[in-house]
């Protein structure tokens, strides 16, 4: 299962923290405030728990979608693709 996280956060510091948490749990950035990745459900639950802790009491919004492989293959991307962070060292 794929996990898509999109967020709308006004404070710079908190936004950076949310992005950090997404990366830490193995998601990759697909847009400025959207992360996608194929992670186990346990890790997803952990991710959601950390989000909950971070945005508790603030006026922000985070949405987490769980998408199956058949549906993610229907994705259509238009325009210039977001430049990912690929590295030579990872095989």
């Amino acid at each position: 299962m794929f996990t898509l996280v999109i967020y709308d956060i006004t404070e710079d510091e908190l936004r950076a923290k949310i992005a950090q948490v997404c990366k830490k749990h193995g998601l990759t950035r697909v847009q400025k405030s959207a992360f996608l990745g194929r992670i186990p459900s346990g890790l997803r639950k952990e991710l959601i728990a950390s989000f909950r802790r971070l945005i508790e009491g603030t006026e922000n919004n985070i949405q987490v979608y769980v998408i199956c492989r058949a549906d993610i293959s229907l994705k259509i991307e238009l325009g210039k693709p977001y430049k990912g962070e690929e590295s030579e060292m990872l095989i």
Partner: protein
């Protein structure tokens, strides 16, 4: 994914639960720990922080350090739980028919894969070079004869059958490498198989030795994970300097993993000028070979009705050895 360190001067540390790689104090990579299953150091002069080692051992991710000839020098992983019953059974199996069965399985597995590689080479050359294709096909048939010879070997201890199996295996290897040498002769000069202690300086042998050593390291790791003693072998003789059981387990993976990768690299002309004057692979060639090898390890093959990446098959085969030793299951050689 695996993280491969192939450049001196890198610093690998951790920050916020992620693996970070710095080059000249600049962060060049940040990756989640959940995406990595192995870190390998192909070079010297890189440093690693103790905080990262703690994090890796918590997630049971191993680090392997290799020499520039590909020999696995050190394995860094968390303490294993005891598996003393299995180990005792393993030593006992060396003197029983269980061990003889295993030794036969390892040897036949290797020969079957040699045979299938030769026949697939023959198939590819059926139109372009019919005479060579016919010769390869004949040779693959004679290797099949050797497999039947191995089945006929009988004995009560591994010591009794070892020399006989090894003799048949050597004959098959002779046929195999001669055929390979002929098949490669159009592209590169391959003077026949030279092992590491013979210090070859032709690119094919150097590349083969390099990747065999790396594969041996991974088989070693698989055995350790299953709790087996990598030094107590069945086909290979016990020795304090070489992990005999890792060599045993490796036999059936040599052709589908390493040989295929190296021959493909030869035909893609990746090995021209790949060796320096000391008979070592150059840095770039080393990395491209390792990359192809890792790609191959990730590609899925079907064996015993399960389609898995080859690296998972290695782990499963190690587990099957332990099941066979404990007489809970039957080992069958890896022939995809």
């Amino acid at each position: 994914m695996r993280l491969v360190v192939n450049e001196p001067g890198l610093f690998i540390g951790t920050r916020g639960g992620m693996i970070t790689v710095y080059k000249e104090r600049k962060k060049i990579l940040e990756v989640s720990i959940s995406k990595i299953n192995l870190i390998s150091f192909l070079t010297r002069g890189a440093s690693i922080s103790s905080a990262l080692i703690r994090l890796l051992s918590k997630h049971s991710i191993p680090i392997i350090f290799y020499s520039s000839y590909g020999t696995p020098l050190a394995l860094c992983r968390g303490f294993t739980s005891g598996s003393i019953l299995l180990r005792k059974a393993q030593y006992k199996a060396q003197n029983s028919e269980v061990g003889v069965d295993l030794a036969k399985c390892f040897a036949t597995g290797k020969l079957m894969n040699q045979r299938s590689l030769l026949s697939s080479m023959a198939k590819n050359r059926a139109l372009t070079n019919p005479s060579l294709a016919k010769e390869l096909y004949e040779n693959s048939k004679s290797i099949k004869g050797k497999i039947e010879e191995i089945f006929k070997v009988e004995g009560e201890k591994t010591e009794d059958v070892r020399s006989e199996i090894m003799r048949i295996e050597a004959e098959a290897a002779q046929i195999y490498w001669e055929s390979v040498s002929k098949a490669l002769s159009k592209v590169i000069i391959f003077p026949g198989r030279r092992k590491k202690f013979e210090h070859p300086d032709d690119p094919v042998n150097v590349a083969l030795n390099y990747l065999y050593s790396i594969l041996a390291g991974e088989c070693w790791l698989a055995l350790e994970v299953c709790g087996l003693d990598p030094y107590a072998g069945f086909l290979h003789v016990d020795s304090s300097r070489r992990p005999a059981l890792a060599m045993d387990l490796m036999e059936e993976f040599r052709q589908p993993v390493v040989d295929r990768v190296v021959f493909k690299a030869v035909f893609e002309r990746k090995l021209d000028n790949a060796v320096d004057k000391d008979g070592r692979l150059k840095k770039d060639a080393r990395f491209t070979l390792y990359k192809d090898y890792a790609e191959r390890m990730k590609s899925k093959l079907t064996f015993l009705n399960r389609s898995l990446p080859i690296q998972d098959h290695i782990l499963l085969q190690a587990r099957r050895i332990s099941e066979h030793i404990m007489e809970r299951g039957k080992y069958s050689p890896f022939t995809p």
